[in-house]
Each structure stands twice: as structure tokens, then as C-alpha cells.
């Protein structure tokens, strides 16, 4: 865990930060995992090259991309398939995809590739070994892929507005790692500096898939017209990321990994606290902030979504960000005491959540010397166990202090006990049902923290304060798990989403945005309360740009001119 720092600016309270509404306004920051990975690639001079591109004229076949890090080699194996239109669905329920991928630990031999060619296309139905780190699959964007090829094959670049409105050539629908389907367990690579950071192996495969999509369109366009076709322009490539459709599958993760989640949010809040504590702002730092803020405003203008609610929020965000910019550009701004704190306090009191959270992200940008070190300490290396020496009196105190938000919920109110979360038999993925209407509530997932704490506290009313937890759980073993959870919450204050995730007002898409922003996702495009489209790596450097000096200057990408 990060060391606490002494400063007169207080860290934001978990009661404010860990609310669903605020999670649903999160933006990526310098701490985000994609940003950190690109910085690592640059720092260690990684080399990423296509080693094999055995695709037919239509773009179907096998391609290999080799990643040479300072210590090891990894290989992306891509299987590009024909997908008939009736089988095309981008949902997680699909069984066939345009392309399937595996990230191999080392250099695969022919036997490996043959074995994987039989398993990777099956995804969840395949079996894998510890040499395989991640599997994924992606579909071509129906809106953009064919249009780009059509333009390139005729010697033209695609319409940039169309490119911007979609943002990607392919969209992944799942990325699996950490032992799923026999894949390598995370614990086998946590001692590797390049993969120890959270979700780095998943972020790496997504980055490599993005490179494949560029080579794929160039290849198909060339095969259509070898004489007149052109490659996709470098600036347009940079403006294209990888799409992703994320639904409920990701939501319970934030609840079932409390220490990890604490580390992420605590790191972000400490970062903000440090920046707000800066007494004087130099002109270069101010100019950096103003520059990136202008870019962010333009980015928000180019952030096109069909969701009416998000569209309204974006319009308000742009309006408020102009006001933030006015404040920062005022000639007296730099001479205020703790200017960044002034700015953030003003935004917190006068502006909406989207603006506050975007401002947080922008404030971290000019300070790599402070933030990037913090971004290196986000993994969870602890093992938390129930402290059975604690007394019931102490446990009661912790609950009353840290879980008031849970105790205030009346679970006898049907609205507060409305949903249940379960695993679907078909896809082994989390789903959400309505209690009393949908089947399966008796198989509810064990993620109802607020409800369980509520019940525990009621039971503890009748238990003597001096009893040890060991003796309590000996008789009440059903509370063993939640008692441990409460203890974790007392040590890791940002470990809980402080809202009721089974109420009728809970929007899982808020949980998703909170997590995806830490990944580095942008252009959130909510399609319902349950799922969202996003773009990853939009604006990120290409593989042959990793060594350039401005490698980290890709946040809030805007359309190339």
C-alpha cells in the first residue's frame, strides 16, 4: 500500500469517491493501465514486429506478432476467420468471431500453433496450457471495416469523421486470463516486472490486436487493387483504437477484489491530494494543463454517443470545462495559494461529477515526476485473513464507523432488495435478474456486501462485546466471510462501492465505467444500464513509435487534421 503523505489538503472521502454515481463519471488518467504499459514499453525499448502474416486475399489465415521485452519474448497468435453474417453478433453469447487471439509465453513452435488453431477459435470451449497467457476474440466493425478497405483499395484515405465516429476497426467481446480454461495462472508471472502490474497482460494483447487490425486492412485493400491501393495513413491509425463491448461480466470483479480496488482508487486519490497540495504552479506546468485541457474539451466534442442521457452530460461537461479553463487562464490564477486546490475546490462546489472527474485526470497530466511512481504500486500482494483475535465489540465499532452507508439501507423495502446477480449456465458469465420474477435467486452470487453487513450487525446486537471473533464464528460460521470483509474495509478504506448493488436504482454501467477508466478506456458509449461500448488505445503510439520522446502524450485523442 502506498505511504500516506502529510499534507494539509485532505484526501477525498471514500463516502464521496466510492459512490456509483461518481464511479459512473470516471475518466482515464496517467495511472491507467494502458498508459503505464506504453510508458514501460518506451522505458524498456520493447520491439514489436510482425513475424508471420499468412493470410489469403480475403484476410483469412494466421499472423504472428513478436514482442521482445528487456527480459522475455511474447507472441500474439492471430487466427482470422470467415464469419457468415447470420453468425455475427458482438455479444458475449456468440460462438463464432471474425478473429481469435492468444498471447503465447515465448516463441511458439509449429506444434503449438497447430494445437492452438484447434482451441483458440473455440474460446471458452477450448482448453489451454500454462504457456498461454491470454485469449481474446474480436469482430470487425460493420460500420467502418469495409468502408476503410473500400477507400484504401481505391487509393483514398477513409473519411476521418466516419473513423472518429466509430473509433476502431475491430471490437473485442472478451479477454480472458488468470487461469481461465487452463490458461497460465497470474501468480506464475507476478514476479515479472513487465506483467506484475494489474491487467498488463490483458492490456498487452489488446494493444497487439490493434496492430493486427491495421495490417489486416492494409493487406486486404492491397489484395483488391495492388496497383492503386494505399496503406492507412499513420495519423488515422493512431486515431483508431480497439473497441470493446463490456457488460455485466466485469462488474462483480470490483466487489470481489476489495484490496486491489482500494489500491487503485487510493492511488488516484493520493495523486489528486498531492497535486492539490502544490503551493506554487510554474508557467510550464500551467501551460501543460491548459494545453491538455483544450485537447480534452475537443475530445469531449468528438465523443459521439447515441445515449440521450450521456449526450446531455457531455454537453454540460464541455460547458463547465470552458469555465475551468477560464479560471486557469486568468492572469491571477498562478498567484493564488495552492492554485490547483483552488481550481478543484471550485469545480467540486460549482460543477457536475463529469467535470470534477475529468479535472482530476487533467491535473495529474503535468506531473509525471509525482504520478508515475504512484502508478507503479497498484497491484495487490497481500493475503487477507479473518483476524479471530478481534473482539465483537471492535467489530461492531468498525461496522458502525465504516459501513453506516450499508446500515442505512432498509432491505425490507422491496426496491432495495430488487435484483439478484447470478452466473449464467450458457456463458458462465454474471447476469442480473429480478427477484420474484426471474428464476435463480436461490443461486445468488455472494456479492451482496451491504445486505450481509446489515444482517451481521443486527445479529451482533445480541452478542457480548468481549467475545472473540474466533468464538463467534465457531457458532455462526455463516458470518465468517462477511466478518473478514468488514476487517478488510477497516484497513482499506476505498475497498467498497458504497452503494446497494441490488437496489432497483443501481446502474451496473456505472461500475463498469469506474473499472474501465482504470484500464484506460475512453469514449464511453452506454447502450443501456447494463453495458457500454468503449475504445482502448485511441491515440496511442504505433509499434514503431514506441521509442519516440512524446510516447506518453496520447491522452484525450482528437481527430487528426
Amino acid at each position: 500500500m502506498l505511504d500516506k503523505i502529510c499534507t494539509n489538503i485532505e484526501i477525498r472521502s471514500p463516502s464521496d469517491v466510492m459512490r456509483l454515481e461518481r464511479l459512473g463519471a470516471t475518466f482515464p488518467t496517467r495511472l491507467s493501465f494502458t498508459r503505464r504499459l506504453i510508458r514501460l514499453m518506451h522505458r524498456e525499448s520493447w520491439k514489436i514486429n510482425c513475424k508471420k502474416f499468412d493470410l489469403n486475399d480475403d484476410g483469412f489465415g494466421v499472423a504472428l506478432y513478436e514482442v521482445v521485452t528487456s527480459k522475455r519474448i511474447y507472441t500474439l497468435i492471430c487466427f482470422s476467420h470467415y464469419l457468415s453474417p447470420e453468425l455475427r453478433t458482438d455479444r458475449v453469447i456468440a460462438n463464432h468471431w471474425d478473429a481469435t487471439f492468444v498471447l503465447f509465453d515465448g516463441i511458439p513452435n509449429q506444434t503449438d500453433i497447430e494445437r492452438l488453431s484447434k482451441n483458440v477459435p473455440k474460446q471458452e470451449a477450448g482448453r489451454f496450457q500454462k504457456t498461454e497467457l491470454v485469449i481474446s476474440r474480436a469482430n470487425k466493425s460493420v460500420r467502418l471495416f469495409a468502408e476503410v478497405i473500400k477507400s484504401l483499395s481505391k487509393g483514398n484515405q477513409p473519411d476521418i469523421n466516419m473513423v472518429n465516429s466509430v473509433g476502431y476497426l475491430m471490437r473485442t467481446t472478451a479477454v480472458y486470463a488468470n487461469g481461465k480454461f487452463g490458461l497460465c495462472d497470474r501468480l506464475h508471472y507476478t514476479d515479472r516486472s513487465e506483467l506484475s502490474h494489474p491487467f498488463q497482460v490483458e492490456m498487452l494483447i489488446v494493444y497487439l490486436i490493434r496492430l493486427f487490425t491495421f495490417d489486416l486492412v492494409d493487406h486486404i485493400a492491397y489484395q483488391i487493387d495492388k496497383k492503386n491501393s494505399v496503406n492507412l495513413n499513420r495519423d488515422i491509425k493512431r486515431h483508431l483504437g480497439i473497441g470493446n463491448a463490456t457488460g455485466l461480466g466485469m462488474a462483480p470483479f470490483l466487489i470481489s477484489h476489495p484490496v486491489l480496488i482500494h489500491n487503485w482508487f487510493y492511488a488516484r486519490e493520493v495523486s489528486l491530494q498531492k497535486i492539490r497540495s502544490i503551493n506554487e504552479v510554474g508557467i510550464n506546468k500551467l501551460n501543460h494543463f491548459i494545453g491538455v485541457s483544450k485537447k480534452a474539451i475537443q475530445h469531449a466534442k468528438e465523443w459521439l454517443v447515441s445515449d440521450e442521457f450521456q449526450t446531455k452530460r457531455n454537453l454540460i461537461l464541455i460547458k463547465e470545462m470552458y469555465k475551468v479553463l477560464d479560471l486557469a487562464e486568468n492572469k491571477n490564477f498562478r498567484y493564488k495559494n495552492k492554485p490547483w486546490n483552488y481550481l478543484f475546490s471550485k469545480a467540486s462546489s460549482d460543477f457536475g461529477l463529469e467535470c470534477q472527474e475529468l479535472l482530476l485526470s487533467l491535473l495529474l497530466e503535468p506531473y509525471p515526476e509525482i504520478i508515475d511512481e504512484i502508478s507503479e504500486a497498484l497491484e495487490d500482494r497481500t493475503e487477507e485473513f479473518l483476524d479471530v483475535n478481534m473482539t465483537i465489540g471492535q467489530l461492531k465499532e468498525i461496522i458502525d464507523e465504516n459501513y453506516k452507508w450499508a446500515l442505512d439501507i432498509d432491505f425490507n423495502d422491496p426496491k432495495q432488495n430488487y435484483h439478484f446477480w447470478y452466473y449464467s449456465k450458457e456463458k458462465l458469465e454474471p447476469r442480473r435478474g429480478i427477484r420474484g420474477q426471474d428464476l435463480g435467486s436461490e443461486k445468488e452470487m455472494r456479492i451482496t456486501i451491504a445486505k450481509d453487513v446489515n444482517l451481521l450487525r443486527k445479529v451482533l446486537n445480541d452478542v457480548k462485546d468481549d467475545l472473540s471473533i474466533a468464538n463467534f464464528v465457531m457458532v455462526n460460521s455463516n458470518f465468517r466471510d462477511i466478518a473478514c470483509r468488514v476487517q478488510i474495509g477497516s484497513k482499506y478504506h476505498f475497498s467498497e462501492i458504497r452503494d446497494n448493488i441490488i437496489s432497483n436504482s443501481c446502474k451496473p454501467v456505472d461500475i463498469l465505467r469506474g473499472k474501465l477508466a482504470f484500464f484506460g478506456a475512453s469514449k464511453f458509449d452506454p447502450k443501456s444500464d447494463l453495458w457500454t461500448r468503449i475504445t482502448m488505445y485511441q491515440g496511442a503510439p504505433l509499434n514503431d513509435e514506441i521509442l519516440s520522446s512524446d510516447v506518453d502524450d496520447w491522452c484525450f485523442p482528437i481527430k487528426p487534421q
Partner: protein
Amino acid sequence: MIVSLNEIQNLIYRSGLAVKLPAGVAKENSFVAVRMFREGFGSLNVFVKAFNSLRKTLSVNFDVVKASEGNFVPMINKRRLSSLLVSSSVCDLLTLFEENDKKKIIVKKIDEPLILFFHILQLSKKLNRDFKVSFFLQNNETNFLISTYEGIYYLKENLFEEIDADKITIENFTKQNLSSDFNGLNKGNIDFFLEDEVWLYFSKFSDSLLVEDSIKSRIHNAGSGLNDND
């Protein structure tokens, strides 16, 4: 089949929930299953036996009154003590011991002693403390296993195959007292092999927690409609 540790953990955790183990107890048993594999015990057969015993009520929970005095016995006479249910509580009481405590915990008629032993091994790591586990066998022979932060020490190599003790005692131990007759157990291969029938046995429990999809749930419970091509 080759499996990952994550799969083993999920399989035992979800199977535990399926047979109504409390969530915390199911979770700790799943960590123990992983620990067994990491220590080279490439089998979950003891868990199969323990699950069978519990489901058929051949094994039951412990007598709480006696347990609070450090004496774990089955709550019903002529039944075995469920290792799945008792092990966490045994470890809780061991945690309450001071390091120089001379007290012993007694566990009688446990169904699968090895499961309890691996719980204690987990505890050794957690507390950075050593414990001596004595197994009193039916032929009046006694064997010992030493559980330490670093791993397992044993006197008799094939002990693990024949642990079937009517009585087990657990007490504090200082590794400095370890005689040269004891050997450290080597950790096994990094490949984790699970017999197909064991995988299927637990998958059946684990899958019983899954909810059948319906047309309605396919459309509404995961996100939007059936097709969202873009």
C-alpha cells in the same frame, strides 16, 4: 487433464457453496486445495472423499461446547468429523494460542486428516509460526508432521498415503527443535494434473450454482438485445 490453480480454487469454492458450506469456510477450503497442489499433492481425492462423507452425513459438524475447550469431536456419536467444516475453527483456536503456549488442540475422528493438516500449513504461513501435528494411528503408532512457514517436514515418507488417524493433536512447535531425522517435502511439478473423473465430480456441484438461460434472460439480463453489431 491439465488445470490451472485458479480453476481448482473456483471448483472447490463453488462446490463448497453448492453443498451449503458457509462462504468463508468454502473459500478457505478452496485456498487449501490450491495449497495442496502447490506443495506437490496433485490430487483432490481427499476432497472427493470429504465431500462424499459430508453429503451422505457420514461426517458432521463439531460439538461447539467441547470445541471451545480445544476438544473437537463430532456433534453426533458414531459419525466422523467433517474436515471441511472443522478445519477453519481448529485454526481459529490455534491462532488464539500464545507462541509459548503449551496447550494442545485435540481433534477426534476427523474424516480426512490431510485437509486439516493443509489448513494448519496455511495458518503457519499466515502467522509465521510452526506447529507440530501428531497423528495417532489405529495400530497405536504415532506419526508427526511439522507445519512451518516454509513448508512441510515429515519423518515417514509414505505417511501422506496412509493418514487415517482417530486422534490428532496440534501444538506449537519451534523449528529449532527439528531433529535431523525430519525431511523437508519437495514441492511438485508446476503442471497441475487433475483426473477427469475428479474434474467431473466437482464440476457437477459447481455447475449446480449456474442458472439456466431463458429467452428473456438472454435478451435482458446481460445487456441489450441478441445482436448489437456495429
